[in-house]
């Protein structure tokens, strides 16, 4: 199939960007979206032009590196998958595809479609862990965990940190990302020990970084490639409220 691509080009974070139109021909329906961009890039390189920069790595939907806001949707038109897992059969011959980078103040554009998502790491560094050291740990089976809790924790832990929730949210809120980590630990006895402190620290960091507020629009859940539930956000709100009310210290 032949396609017109309308791609955001921006040389660096310091200069302004604009949309540039490209044509690609004879794209197989079996190709993945990123392979389609590879083809475009190889043709640009052959012509001596700068290829389009985009983040990608594992190409099997787990590393969370790929992004791309495609025709108004993070990770494109299909549900429950990342951009790298989307195949061109989701598009029609002759279609124009608009490809934009994630847009959010805490995700500044680095180049073209690449954005800086280190703010997510900063949130994790603020409290997204259990403070255990290596070694000196009791036997793994010494604390039984109800299967349902383990399953819910796993549902939340499936987050790949891609940032689609922020990209999809009309407020560029990171609540789904933060709540997924808060929930995972809140559901497990290992994480309960620091639960009050964790939720306060992580939320404070999230706010400080300039993410928007949650208005319960649920676009995040709809676009999350791992289909993480907004019930995690409610759980975080609960955790936060109780931490604020009874915690011995404010963070």
């Amino acid at each position: 199939m032949d396609l017109t691509l309308k791609i955001w080009r921006q040389a660096s974070s310091k200069v302004k960007g604009q949309f540039v139109n490209y044509q690609v021909q004879n794209i197989s329906a079996e190709a993945s979206f990123l392979e389609m961009l590879d083809i475009l890039n190889e043709s640009l390189v052959a012509k001596g032009e700068e290829p389009v920069a985009f983040d990608h790595d594992c190409r099997e939907g787990i590393c969370g590196a790929c992004s791309l806001y495609i025709n108004g949707r993070p990770h494109g038109p299909d549900r429950g998958i990342t951009t790298c897992q989307m195949h061109m059969r989701n598009f029609k011959h002759g279609e124009t595809i608009i490809i934009e980078p994630w847009r959010a103040k805490p995700f500044p554009v680095i180049k073209d479609l690449m954005v800086d998502r280190s703010s997510f790491d900063e949130i994790i560094q603020a409290g997204g862990f259990v403070s255990v050291r290596t070694g000196g740990i009791p036997d793994a089976n010494s604390i039984p965990i109800p299967r349902r809790n383990a399953e819910l924790a796993m549902d939340a832990a499936a987050c790949i940190g891609c940032g689609a929730c922020v990209a999809a949210c009309k407020n560029a809120s990171a609540m789904l990302f933060v709540s997924a980590k808060v929930s995972q630990f809140a559901l497990l006895p290992q994480g309960r020990i620091e639960a009050q402190e964790r939720v306060q620290r992580m939320v404070a960091k999230m706010d400080e970084l300039g993410f928007g507020n949650c208005t319960n629009t649920y676009a995040c859940e709809a676009e999350c490639p791992k289909e993480i539930s907004v019930s995690n956000i409610a759980r975080m709100n609960r955790e936060f409220l109780s931490a604020k009310l009874i915690s011995h210290k404010e963070f």
Partner: protein, 646 residues
């Protein structure tokens, strides 16, 4: 030969690690603060090591190529992680895990290392659970186990089909905790360009900032490489796009020996190649072989019709199907180890029985299991995998048999290390898939995660101190030493050279060519003629690359083409070394199958008399033949046997 001292501690097998720890040198807390450690790579081994060093009190600098440490390719491991917990009470033990691992590796790994791996495996599970890794649990709330190829017990811990992700996120959280405490400094989006050696000791690294292009010097008292495997030498593999061999290759060129470069694991159950433009291969979990039956048509004409699309697989009569694994290996059937299953698939396809449009695929059929167990059971077991397959191939695997083909998955070879995980360069350590590792000539499923975390959490934090204890008098290494200046200059010259060739071929075109040479000659079946030819072709490709490659853009910005060019330049050289190693190893073992050395039934034929050793290659200069050293493998505690899966 004095250089190759594996430093195996004395004593009985199960006492070696205990003895080592009891007698090794340690660094006291006030001195730890004054010692710097560089860790390159943020996968399981790198993140675990860096976090543990930080907790101990060292100054740690971590470097990664991604925008976040959480993206390292350990994240993609699906199946699980082995440990000798014996929770299911099915007879497992540390010794049994050790034995299965060394046998699975076709007796080409070091006894003491493998035993230590099995010994610390239990601590890994404890550690991960304490970190909040949501392993699968049974209804009583205790940890669940599943079985995996090559073992008779259920010892694999798992978190759905995302075990690697959860373990990596556990290590990443530990690392993040230390970064937050500022004991560890994280440098993201950095590519290792060189290892700096001062007076024979590893003292630092040169990295390229992938955003600004700046070439940076970083110094330390010790350097750990945890940069993963080099499967991408084949262009198409299940590795991530940025997985590369450059860090270990630079270390090799600076004097670290390269162990068993030709040992490559080809995973049998991947989605077949579908087009020229394809960028990577997708693995389907090995667990599918538990319920799927592998077959190809019995008659050549049927295979032909299927390839042309005139015959549907489902319409082929039972007696016209060849369930070749069940036929050849009645005892293990579809559950033979990875190397055996891969080779059998290749054999059938080479003989013309392959299916799919390319003829490079075999069927993995669930029809019988669906009939026996019902669609619901199959769906609950493999639903996510079936869905993944359908998304990629656009075919419903509940109705039509899946098509699979082997693909490069893991490299057992890597930088040669001794018992302390130290390379032949003092102060330079290698961990995880980057070292030549404990897997011998073939790795068992669910063992890679175990080894990465073992190296990172429980081995390096001890062994590195044995080295650093002698470094406490050394103040912070200055980065204006001539060795740093020189290494930086060489890096800049290399980049300049690549950017000014301005030839006519893209970097990817060279990578694809290299991949084809490797796959055809240094892949699942190898022979003298092919390997000799491969070496010649690769050498020609190298000359062509340096004359005709086109690298667009400049160095002072994000430049993925330059990144790829630097990596492909190293892959080309690495490919040649792999071919050389494969040529010199005149036996078949594990993932290394030399067609000249097989039994009359077509099984791998080991030569224990002449090849029970690790080949460790020493760099001798550009376009000079490298020298091979041998580390003999001594089996004191187990009996070496022929693997038999019939």
């Amino acid at each position: 030969m004095t250089k190759l001292n594996p430093k195996i501690p004395n004593g009985q097998l199960d006492q070696k690690w205990t003895n080592y720890k009891a007698h090794q040198n340690l660094v006291n807390p006030s001195n730890k603060r004054r010692l710097d450690i560089i860790v390159v790579g943020t996968g399981l081994a790198g993140a675990a090591a860096a976090a543990s060093f930080g907790e101990l009190g060292f100054n740690v600098k971590v470097f990664g190529i991604h925008d976040s440490p959480r993206r390292a390719h350990s994240i993609a491991a699906q199946g699980g992680i082995n440990a000798a917990k014996n929770y299911p009470n099915d007879g497992d033990s540390v010794f049994r895990l050790f034995y299965d691992t060394i046998k699975g590796g076709d007796y080409r790994a070091r006894e003491a290392n493998v035993f230590r791996l099995a010994e610390v495996s239990n601590s890994i599970i404890d550690q991960c659970v304490a970190q909040g890794v949501p392993f699968a649990r049974d209804y009583g709330g205790l940890l669940d186990n599943r079985s995996f190829g090559g073992a008779q017990v259920s010892r694999t811990f798992y978190a759905r089909g995302q075990t690697g992700q959860q373990l990596l996120l556990g290590a990443y959280s530990a690392l993040s905790k230390e970064i937050g405490k500022k004991t560890v400094k994280m440098y993201t989006r950095r590519d290792l360009m060189d290892v700096v050696i001062v007076d024979g000791l590893a003292r630092g690294i040169i990295v390229r900032n992938l955003i600004t292009g700046e070439i940076e010097r970083h110094s330390a008292h010790a350097v750990v490489l945890a940069t993963g495997g080099y499967g991408n030498v084949f262009f198409l593999s299940t590795n991530a796009m940025s997985s590369n061999g450059s860090a270990i290759w630079k270390a090799y060129k600076k004097g670290a020996f390269f162990g068993n470069p030709c040992f490559t694991q080809i995973h049998p159950t991947c989605i077949p190649v579908h087009g020229e433009y394809q960028s990577k291969l997708t693995l389907m979990s090995e667990s599918l072989r538990n319920d799927g039956r592998i077959w190809v048509p019995k008659k050549l004409e049927d295979a032909e019709k299927i390839r042309k699309g005139t015959l549907k697989a489902g319409n082929l009569k039972e007696e016209d199907r060849d369930y070749y694994l069940e036929r050849r290996y009645p005892a293990f059937g579809n559950l033979v180890p990875r190397d055996v299953a891969s080779r059998a698939a290749k054999e059938r396809c080479d003989a013309g029985f392959g299916v799919g449009t390319t003829g490079l695929a075999v069927y993995l059929d669930f029809a019988d299991s669906i009939k026996r167990l019902g669609k619901n059971v199959i769906e609950s077991r493999y639903g996510n995998l079936f869905q993944m397959y359908e998304k990629i191939v656009d075919e419903n695997p509940y109705e039509n048999p899946m098509m699979i083909y082997p693909a490069v998955h893991y490299t057992m070879g890597g930088i040669w290390v001794d018992y302390e995980l130290q390379t032949t360069i003092p102060g330079l350590f290698a961990a995880g898939e980057a070292n030549f590792s404990d897997h011998g000539a073939n790795r068992l499923g669910a063992s890679a995660l175990m080894q990465g975390l073992s190296d990172g959490y429980f081995v390096l934090p001890y062994t590195i101190q044995n080295y650093l204890a002698n470094q406490i008098q050394i103040p912070t290494i200055k980065t204006d030493l001539p060795e740093f200046v020189q290494a930086e200059k060489e890096t800049k010259d290399l980049i300049q050279k690549l950017l000014t060739i301005n030839g006519k071929n893209t970097v990817d075109s060279y990578h694809r060519k290299l991949g084809l040479i490797m796959w055809d000659n240094v892949g699942m079946g190898r022979n003298k003629e092919g390997l000799t030819n491969a070496i010649k072709l690769i050498q020609e490709l190298k000359v062509d690359f340096w004359k005709n490659v086109k690298v667009t853009g400049t160095n002072d910005q994000v430049n993925p083409e330059l990144e790829k060019a630097l990596r492909v330049a190293d892959f080309i050289e690495l490919g040649e070394l792999m071919a050389r190693d494969a040529l010199s190893r005149q036996e078949s073992c594990g993932g290394h199958f030399r067609e000249e050395y097989q039994t009359p039934e077509g099984e791998a034929l080991r030569d224990d008399k002449d090849f029970t050793f690790v080949s460790a290659w020493e760099y001798k200069g550009d376009n000079v033949e490298p020298e091979m050293h041998k580390e003999p493998l001594v089996f004191e505690f187990i009996e070496v046997k022929q693997r038999n899966y019939k």
